[in-house]
């Protein structure tokens, strides 16, 4: 089964390095955000699977001709105290590495989930005290704050969209609708699950280019998906104006910064200026979003989308196929 482990290793390397770099540089995802999202998910899943699979298959190789008989042999060693002398140190090392990586990925996923849940619960607690329900919108809360802010807080049946009265002052009714449909699209399409999975993927393997690129791409793609959903309810100039007003209005005027009670505290970087202009990660994504709305490109052709989706499907089929292939061929 050596050849299967080498093929899996090759796939793991391609999915960890060149493939995500190529996809993150491609321009077509803006024309088919959903397809691109599926492709990112399959790159991450297939990448993890082939990393683990390559080490496992290679490590089990001395114990059998295929994965099943080799696994049975390995269990015999563990449980029935069979002699382990067929296994070299390197093999034991590879098997342990595969097991550890698997445990690491799963536990990071769980720990990230717990951390996010705790942050959300705390945030929701404070919102309950500080906000009031919007007059004519279900599942929408209004909070008293001068900066124009809108975001959503996922939580199953208790999911809410939050907006500041600063935002309501700046936007017309139609523009506000654009913002609210955008946010509720995030909730309906369960974007928080994607963010969760890719955040865990990144904190599990931060040194891997794919995890960083994937996370950035995914957080950009969900904005595009939500924009597309908003465009089904409001026209494009309205959405663009809403983005532009919130984007430019979000810059603090001097008096806001002075009014911000936390701005005085030198220990914390909490001035509204830092809040809104800080960080460059979001910048590219906003520019991308706007140019996509202002100069719309035709969506990918059916054939191109089919091609991308089949690639995604193939990526998910190949690693398991390689795992069982020696058995079928043998």
């Amino acid at each position: 089964m050596f050849w299967a482990s080498y093929l899996l290793a090759a796939l793991a390397i391609i999915l960890a390095w060149p493939a995500p770099i190529a996809l993150s540089r491609a321009s077509w995802p803006a024309r088919a955000p959903f397809t691109a999202m599926v492709l990112w998910q399959s790159i991450a899943l297939a990448g993890g699977l082939s990393m683990i699979g390559a080490m496992l298959v290679w490590g089990l190789e001395p114990l059998g001709d295929n994965l099943v008989s080799a696994s049975v042999g390995f269990l015999d060693i563990l449980i029935d105290d069979e002699s382990a002398e067929t296994l070299g140190v390197v093999h034991v090392f590879a098997i342990s590495a595969a097991t550890l990586l698997f445990a690491h990925l799963i536990s990071t996923l769980v720990l990230t989930f717990i951390r996010i849940r705790r942050q959300r619960r705390r945030h929701r607690d404070m919102l309950n005290l500080l906000s009031s329900p919007a007059a004519d919108q279900p599942a929408t809360l209004v909070i008293n704050h001068p900066a124009p802010v809108a975001y959503c807080l996922p939580g199953g049946a208790r999911s809410v969209t939050v907006m500041s009265d600063g935002l309501m002052d700046l936007l017309t009714r139609a523009e506000l609708d654009a913002v609210l449909t955008h946010e509720s699209a995030h909730l309906h399409q369960r974007h928080h699950l994607l963010l969760w999975a890719f955040a865990a993927w990144r904190s599990a393997l931060p040194w891997l280019p794919t995890s960083r690129l994937a996370q950035r791409a995914v957080s950009e793609l969900i904005e595009m998906l939500a924009d597309d959903e908003a465009l089904r309810h409001v026209d494009e100039p309205t959405l663009v104006r809403a983005i532009a007003i919130v984007g430019s209005g979000a810059l603090p005027r001097a008096e806001d910064v002075l009014d911000d009670p936390l701005a005085d505290d030198p220990g914390r970087d909490t001035s509204a200026g830092a809040a809104v202009t800080g960080g460059t990660a979001g910048t590219r994504s906003t520019a991308h979003r706007l140019s996509r709305l202002l100069t719309p490109l035709p969506p990918l052709s059916r054939f191109q989308q089919g091609l991308a989706l089949s690639t995604a499907g193939l990526l998910l089929v190949v690693p398991p196929a390689l795992l069982v292939a020696p058995e079928l061929l043998g």
Binding site: A147, A150, V162, A199, V240, A275, G279, T286
Partner: protein
């Protein structure tokens, strides 16, 4: 029926409204007198004390222990709490996932200028 969350909210609203510290008894009376909200009814003092100790645990309320009965006050103002909460949302790097997907991410000064131009021109 008012939930514990509603009660917490009512008590915080009262404490935020006055700079003075208040006893559980005073708070109960104030709640009973309040214009009939969902909570506007007679409560047992123990209920108020339960709510207060929950709020204390959350760091929203502090207790003056040198007086009997204990007097409670809010730790900071409503505005400070709001600013802190919004700070969490605004400053959050895009890779923090709890509060998800703000409508607009961080905007650079240059980009904001482009946006303003766009608005002026349209």
């Amino acid at each position: 029926m008012a939930t514990l969350g509603d009660l917490e909210r009512t008590v915080m609203d009262l404490l935020w409204a006055t700079p003075e510290a208040a006893t559980a008894n005073e708070l109960r009376d104030a709640i009973a007198e309040a214009p009939s909200g969902e909570v506007g009814r007679e409560l047992a003092v123990t209920t108020v004390l339960t709510v207060l100790s929950r709020l204390e645990k959350k760091g929203l309320v502090e207790r003056e222990r040198d007086s009997r009965p204990h007097r409670y006050r809010s730790v900071t103002s409503r505005e400070d709490h709001t600013a802190e909460l919004m700070h969490e949302v605004l400053v959050t790097a895009p890779d923090r996932e709890a509060v998800l997907a703000r409508f607009i991410g961080s905007v650079s000064e240059a980009e904001a200028q482009t946006l303003r131009k766009l608005l002026g021109g349209s």
